[in-house]
């Protein structure tokens, strides 16, 4: 088994896939925060 080649592929895949995930999460997460705070700030019954 060519371990060097395997770890090269793993390294390149990790950095590329994670970069893409970070971009998606920054955009999607910002919208989610606004929605979450609106929901928590809305009037509701206390337990």
């Amino acid at each position: 088994m060519n371990w060097t080649l395997l770890w090269k592929v793993v390294l390149i895949f990790t950095i590329s896939a994670y970069s893409l995930l970070v971009i998606i999460v920054i955009i999607g997460g910002s919208k989610n925060i606004v929605e979450m705070l609106k929901e928590l700030g809305a009037p509701r019954e206390e337990q």
Binding site: T14, Y18, G28, L40, G41
Partner: protein, 505 residues
Amino acid sequence: MDVFATNFKTIDWVIVTIYIFIPVIIGVLVRKYVRQLSDFIVAGRSLRLFIAIATLTGTELGLVTVMYNAELGFLHGFSAFHIGIIETVCILAIGITGFIVYKLRELRVMTIPEFYEMRFGRNVRIIGGILLALGGILNMGLFLQAGARFMMGVTGYSNPAGLKLFMSAMLILVLIYTVLGGMVSVVLNDFLQFVVLSIGMIIGSFFAIRSIGWDNLFTAPATANNSSWFNPVAEGSGFGMLYVFFMVVLTFSAGALWQSGTLRALSAKTPKVAKQLFAWSSVSYLARRVIPMLWGICAFVFVSRSSKLLSAFQGPEALNSQFGMPLFIAKILPSGFLGLITAGMVAAFMSTHDSYLLSWSSVITQDIIAPLKKGKLSDKKRLLTTRISIVTIGLFLLIWGLWFEAPVSLWNYMAVTGTIYLAGAFTVVAAGLYWKKASKTGATIALFAGLLAILGIGPWTQGENVPFYLSDKFIGLMTFVIAFLGMIFGSLLFPDKSSRQEDSG
């Protein structure tokens, strides 16, 4: 080259100082959103997919994660990557199947022991809660120490008194904003930390690779064994097949049931979001392993090029291997960017601490104190007890971190202490959800079996020629096996009354 030479300048101190006050400000600002206990512990179960991914990553990618993975890369080279691959496959499998997390979210529990009570009764919940808190708090026992070593390595502050100073200052900041804002503050800080640290890690990786050279990176240093540097099952790699098996069991059970991670799934808006969260986050889990390990590998190659640096890590007075990565990045990252990376790491340190403090303190309140009081604890008193527990755990961390040293490596310490809780919890929850015959007695035996893992952090696990049956990996793996067998035999030999009646009916 001076061992503690660093590019960390005044501008970097300014960046870090400004940055570390942001979480405290967020903690104060979001306090108004915490009106009931479920807001404090599971953010009112309002997490949507992307913020849930950020907060899960923020929790699971802490400074300690970076430190123990970098140490693995520094000590074992690319062969350590196998842990990342195993963990990613396990998380992806949980995300695709929804194994455990989907059902737990459907049941609307706030902590894992809450499920124990639903399925096995109050006593099992209390036992489970005590063992979970014990394993969890011991597990985070070396967080402060690792965090302080990072700061000392990066800033070049080599005075031993610095360790105590950094530890105390960091702890106080975390305690303030966790006590104030609970989960809402934790989620927002996790998001901020995710953004800063992720970008910093990606850019930092390019600097690390550039300083070593792409081709040199994949050539084992002269001081390392070429085969074991790349192959995790090669002789001398420090891992082997036994270790690989232990990692499969450990990372799968931790993926499904590590309280701080599972808390994110339980905070998800719907069970479906809880499941999707794990599938998407598998990439984060890969990155949290591979990128710090890469830094550790680059650090070792860098150190092995300088006889002065190399000698600092050898001999009886050798520096702890956790210093490898911070000393390396302190020398190769430019001032300004180093400050940003350090700020990101400090934020990571804080975000892991806040989540863990919140996790274990809510277990103490919800699963130990409240059941002992037989439900007579008001929401207000529960909040107060949770906050007092947070401060008490913080004090323990300070004392434990000052005198205890991990016998093998930081990650092995984390793995073994995690097993104290995970061996029992994984068996009990999996059997409780998917096996009708699982009984109280089986659950109790499985939970207590987890205590065997404590043997894995004893001084006998340290050294070169430890017999396999005294090694931490064997003890860890056997703990899982014994917990599993305890559940099977305990349930078959001592079934619950209700299932006996069903059988006879």
